[in-house]
Symmetry: D2
Subunit: 333 residues, 4 copies
């Protein structure tokens, strides 16, 4: 737990992170789900883990997986239909030009929803990462958007006890993904029941967004459901440890989570390619805890006054005082 | 004219383009509106010019300006309320934290609408460039968004014969502008009557969008009203000559304009800082004409087949054949 | 052949391209070296392929590999020591903080040089992709640079019949690679004998360079030895097909290759993740041929005059006329 | 003073910052040099100001300017030849294709050197911001580079008591500036006497550099002479207040300044467009002081150990502990 939030992690956080140059992974992570669970259970604050449907969770292993988790006092905080890791999705899933593939994508999401219900998880994370295009003249944008909406609508109608969250990302693995920003996700979801948004810090940064602003917009429309936490250098989804690059904006997000009364999971989605996995997770959570403490110490009212004032000098002074602990009274002009 | 499109230009296209390092402007452009009109009238294909309300068009000079234009057989294709060039907008206009400034911004847009009606122009271009923020903790996103919506709604209700177009841009002059992407513009406009979107090629690129995709999305929602044409290196609004950097994506946009049945103005918004102004405008229009001719020669059906297929090799071959004139039959495998 | 240039390819051009989300690869490529060679030999213009030392070329299989190539009338145009694909390089190779790893990296480059000599190839491509850092405070820049220089110097002194080329790249797989730009590569190589630079179009673009400018700088210092061709959207090494995004800059590079009298290999380094491999290679080479033809048709003198003049209007007109075939005489002012 | 460093500022720090949309400036700054000096003298830590030759400092006003400064106990820390703000530099200065312009640029630098000597300042800052290109095919890179080198060499030979510093920047006002990175600056300066480099934090970030790494490289070659401090969002020279966005990298730079034994000026180069100028300068200096204190508290040895280890977890923990004041002992594994 971190304050009122349950704390989760995606499996790569404890896995043997690979990239296109080192397909074996850089090592040090768990291989089997059990190994990863054992590692994860050593992180004190951690309450749950995400699972990928079909890869980790199948119709046949539901009971086994449930006991693996309950034995370690962990929850399954998210079930993720695999819409990106198999060759059948090479040219897209929900928005494939091939109707059979689109149908299969919807079916796989539904299966993931059933499995989520089976393990007591109320969400699936639909990340249409392969739905997009790489080259000019490669996509019929109008049809793709319609297919995405139809697919999401069909999935979300499948059962009402599992909410369909959509995770946006501007690029990677495609050079252009259709569901690229918070605003576009809202347009995608409008008029569909039982849906929401999963906002990933790094995806939002890579989309050129201020993450807190994206969260506020999603909250306005009732779609702020779930957070993936990490960090990057703004141009790519580097999946780095939390607050390792962008401290002021991560701090600003923490303030806005409180202001928007976000009460859901805080889930790590980091790829510690070259790092020992346990300390990496602990570093992330220590930063999050530090940022929450900083906001608590400053007090919502003091921050609110600065935010409402719109003055950059006040904002700059606030961040410095919050981070370095300088007393506000000493510097007033 | 360019095909069925009327062709316009913003005044900086023929002006003495300044930047923050050379405030006098790099020279070579027209000083007065008359001088600019005289230059513009030498560009054969040009049908109209945009004017900035208050700067070029006031309550007192409407008749004079009308005759300046009619004498040269030019139209006023857009009236732009000045929401960025005066010190009163330093910390924002429609979304200023100061209610007096917000009121003034709305009033200035209404005045611009009246003047547009007075000169027979059916549009105003609301570009809220100063509405945004520069630093973390400097903006109350929720209030700002509400103020923007309220402001646009009040303006658009002022009179129904002038349509309020909103122009989005991700940054500059603020490091973050609130109305930053096509999707966010749609959210801003939803539920308001008599509004639409002005899409600027370079703003869209700088927002990480594929411009044709943004146009298709806007068209889907009924907001594809007007185009600003130019080019850049993707990261900043360089306001360069059309197609000087990004040829395939400009060509893709031309195809989509036809497919989406866009029939409105094609207006240059270039800043030829160091260039002679007339040849720069002519270069832009020559590229646009060349790209239209290329699409016509290829034929919509052939292009459509490639776009629908979603195959990158076909897309790449199509672009090469269209641009270099190679015959498709010679290369079929 | 393409004009006077021999034409090569890296193996991923015909391989089953994987990324971190689809580790199996997206399919359609060759699995074994033989399969890839068979595919490659179907591309008419192709003269050679690059091999990765240890992965494809070992002390034991040199004769076998030579005959595989000679049977298909192909050359081995480059031997690449594997300094990135094994777990031992997780925290760097030539610039690792561990002296044993640095020693091993140098040894592996030397082995690759011996194998290159064994197969009649005069180059190795040292790409220190794992030498860099991801986080602030993670690198001792001064030591790393010294280690890199010492390592390159030791390798290049190993034997004079194989030239050590260094390939720069600003990021990926590290968020920051030490050898990041053409200018930094020159600094790295200065004072060392028997070395040069391999310039990869996409790496150069991702580094914010104009590729032709980087080539001219390298040529000035005597280090312009070898080209990798591909394309991307400027921010990441997308390894796309040649000229699919950036046509004017690729055309400008072709002109400068001629002007700088570059006579070496033109080698494809594309990752056609979702594309059929043969047509992708052919598309690349067709674009390169088209651009060479375009430069030939325009004539070096005409281009030279524009380049020397420094006028953007002339440059823009030149590109348009070269690409669309418009006659220059018709548009002169 | 800040520790052993004298503290300076560029004049826009206290000026009425304009951009291309608001040419009058956003207001609140000083107009005349006297007004700016009066403002600057209220910033306690400030020791000096930069002046632009010809604009602020002419052959005729040297004595007057000296007394303006000495009256306020301020130094002139830099004299900047104006190579960017006049129409004669529209197409470049030191690297103009016009030999008369090149000659004039050299002459203006020499005049600035004489004036610097006249006011007891040992540096001029040569920022060749207009030397570059905007469009493909617009520049003869080889000639431009030669002209730049020749020009710098001629200037630096003019007199040995004023050192010619070159300030690099990747873009703006040109879309591509020739002198774009630290490594390229070193190449430019090699073999020329009496030269060095001025490194601007934001220029370095916009060039994709880690600023501390750039500083280490410049120091290695003996060219680390002077710092401009500010911050930005990595993609553009936003000239924001110090540490307002990138805290870990600014902190890393402070550590490296100490490690490299940099003893020169710390000069603010911020454009507080919409901010009150005095508090903005004070915010910058308060952050710099806080970061120096943080490094002092942590101790060079402790930081050195982490930097030498190359472990991201240690680096991440170090930054968090330094900034939040957590005790290292409590978290050791």
């Amino acid at each position: 737990m971190l304050g009122k939030h349950k704390v989760g992690a995606c499996l790569p956080t404890f896995g043997s992170c690979a990239d296109r140059f080192c397909l074996s992974g850089y090592g040090g992570g768990g291989g089997t789900m059990e190994e990863i669970l054992d590692m994860a259970s050593q992180v004190e604050a951690l309450d749950g883990l995400e699972l990928v449907s079909e890869r980790h969770l199948t119709d046949d292993n539901i009971d086994h997986v449930k006991s693996l988790f309950s034995d370690r006092n962990l929850e399954i905080c998210m079930v993720v239909p695999d819409l990106w890791g198999q060759q059948k999705w090479t040219k897209g899933g929900l928005a494939s030009v091939d109707p059979k593939i689109r149908k299969e994508a919807v079916a796989d999401v539904k299966k993931a929803m059933d499995r989520a219900a089976g393990v007591g998880c109320g969400y699936v994370d639909v990340w249409p990462g392969q739905d997009g295009f790489d080259y000019p003249f490669q996509a019929d944008f109008t049809s793709a958007w319609k297919w995405l909406r139809d697919g999401i609508a069909e999935c979300s109608a499948h059962r009402s006890d599992v909410r369909v969250l959509v995770e946006y990302k501007p690029k990677e693995p495609r050079t252009h993904c259709f569901v690229s920003t918070a605003a576009k996700t809202i347009l995608l979801l409008q008029g569909i029941e039982n849906v929401g948004c999963l906002i990933d810090f790094g995806h939002s940064m890579a989309a050129g967004e201020n993450v807190a602003e994206a969260a506020a917009l999603l909250s306005d429309y009732g779609y702020l459901d779930y957070f993936h936490l990490n960090d990057n250098y703004r141009l790519w989804d580097d999946d780095m440890m939390v607050a390792s690059v962008n401290i002021p904006e991560t701090l600003e997000l923490v303030y806005w989570m409180k202001k928007l009364d976000y009460g859901g999971w805080l889930t790590l989605d980091v790829f510690p390619y070259r790092e020992e996995k346990l300390p990496a997770a602990e570093n992330c959570l220590a930063w999050m805890k530090a940022l929450y403490d900083i906001v608590d110490r400053a007090g919502m009212e003091r921050i609110e006054n600065v935010v409402r004032g719109g003055d950059a000098n006040e904002a700059s002074r606030l961040v410095r005082e919050m981070l370095t602990g300088d007393s506000p009274s000493q510097e007033k002009e």
